[in-house]
């Protein structure tokens, strides 16, 4: 390998030193283009090959590797993102279904609650009505009892008054007019 490289270098050097480039100033008067410069061409070839080899080893190789790595990373990320997106969509559908079910349940519960409330209200109303009726009945009874009691007390008081009147009469001399007057007074008093 070293032998070959040495031979190649020697050949390049000999060509370059044997074929110097003819510059414009040394060329024929008025010549537009210089002739083909073998030394420049060889220099170009050697420079290009050297830069190609060095860059291939130290730049292009790692760059291609890095770009491929990044491309793979981006593809993986994209694939993960697509998977996550699909999962999220499935989850969203699931949540939507759950939400729809929950809405139906809520409607049903609301209807049941309303029916129960109406039922309870009716029950409470009937109980209240019954209670009020009972209270009214008790109050009426109490009033009746109080009236009877009052009448009884009035009768007793009338009797006592009559007795008292009678005593007074007995103590006085009674004639038919005064007797009648007393009776009228007593009746009038009683009527009040």
């Amino acid at each position: 390998m070293k032998k070959h490289l040495f031979a190649l270098s020697a050949a390049i050097y000999s060509v370059m030193s044997m074929t110097p480039c003819v510059f414009a100033e040394g060329s024929e008067e008025g010549a537009a283009l210089p002739p083909f410069c073998a030394d420049l061409a060889l220099w170009t070839a050697v420079t290009f090959v050297l830069v190609l080899i060095v860059l291939w080893k130290f730049a292009w190789g790692p760059i291609i590797e890095g770009l491929d790595k990044r491309e793979q990373y981006v593809l993986d990320q994209r694939s993960d993102a697509e998977k996550a997106n699909a999962d999220a969509k499935a989850l969203l559908e699931d949540y939507k279904k759950q939400l729809a079910n929950a809405k139906a349940d809520i409607q049903q519960m609301k209807a049941e609650a309303q029916a129960n409330a109406e039922k309870s209200a009716a029950l409470l109303m009937s109980k209240a009505m019954a209670s009020v009726e009972a209270e009214k009945k008790a109050a009426t009874q109490e009033i009746t009892n109080a009236k009877i009691q009052a009448q009884k007390e009035l009768a007793a008081q009338s009797a006592a008054l009559a007795v008292e009147l009678a005593g007074k009469i007995l103590k006085q001399e009674l004639n038919p007019q005064s007797h009648q007057k007393l009776i009228d007074q007593a009746v009038a008093k009683f009527g009040k």
Binding site: S17, A24, F48, W60, I63, I64, L67
Partner: protein, 266 residues
Amino acid sequence: MDTAKLFEHVNDSHVFEFPFGCEIELPVICGVQLTKFMVIETLVALIMLLLFIPLARKIKTGQPIRGRFSNLLEVFLLFLRDDVVRPSIGHGADKFLPLIWTTFFFILGMNLFGMLPGFGSPTASYSVTCVMAVFALVSLIIAGSVAQGPIGFWVHQVPSMSLPFGLGFILKPMLFVIEVFGLMVKHFVLMVRLFANMFAGHLVLAVFTTFITVITSSWLLWVCVSAPSMALAIAISLLEIFVAFLQAYIFVFLMSLFIGMGRHAH
């Protein structure tokens, strides 16, 4: 106007002529005369090493790189890979990336050096573009021989066609010669296109700027000529920057296309 002097600014020389009369005579090393273009090529090679080896260290990790210039270089690399090499060569194109990347940046660097005062474009010399075209041809032959076999590559230069008995023996050798000649012509054109574009562009620039030095008879005439000359020189310089990129792109695009064609039978 001395045309020989004009061409001196475009052609290769053993002297670097910088503005304000500064000249650097290049030495003869071991019997080899160093020239301006040789030095520029070496500088381009060194710049490429200085740019791409550190960039490779950054990209190797696989993480997105930081820095505007690094990203700019990566844009070039990815553009060449995704829009030039892969579509042109097809399956297994990535194997040719190092060759195409090196060719592109080597040519681009040589083209752009012509925009610096005192330097020049080595690609304005057909001695340089010829070498690049030969590399393109050799790459095509090697790639084709690897893909189709050393004999298959040459046999497949002739398009497959159904010919009446006997006619094939006459036509196919003729077609082979024409196709091989076509192959050479394609690469010759590749050489001439790059050389002619760069040479002509720099020659036009040299002509416009030489007007300034030619007119010496009258101060007023000098101003009247210099101002449009400078304006045109600036415009052509801007165009030349574009042409520098365009020609480098065209060279590697056609090179990739030829390699792609060489790897697949007609």
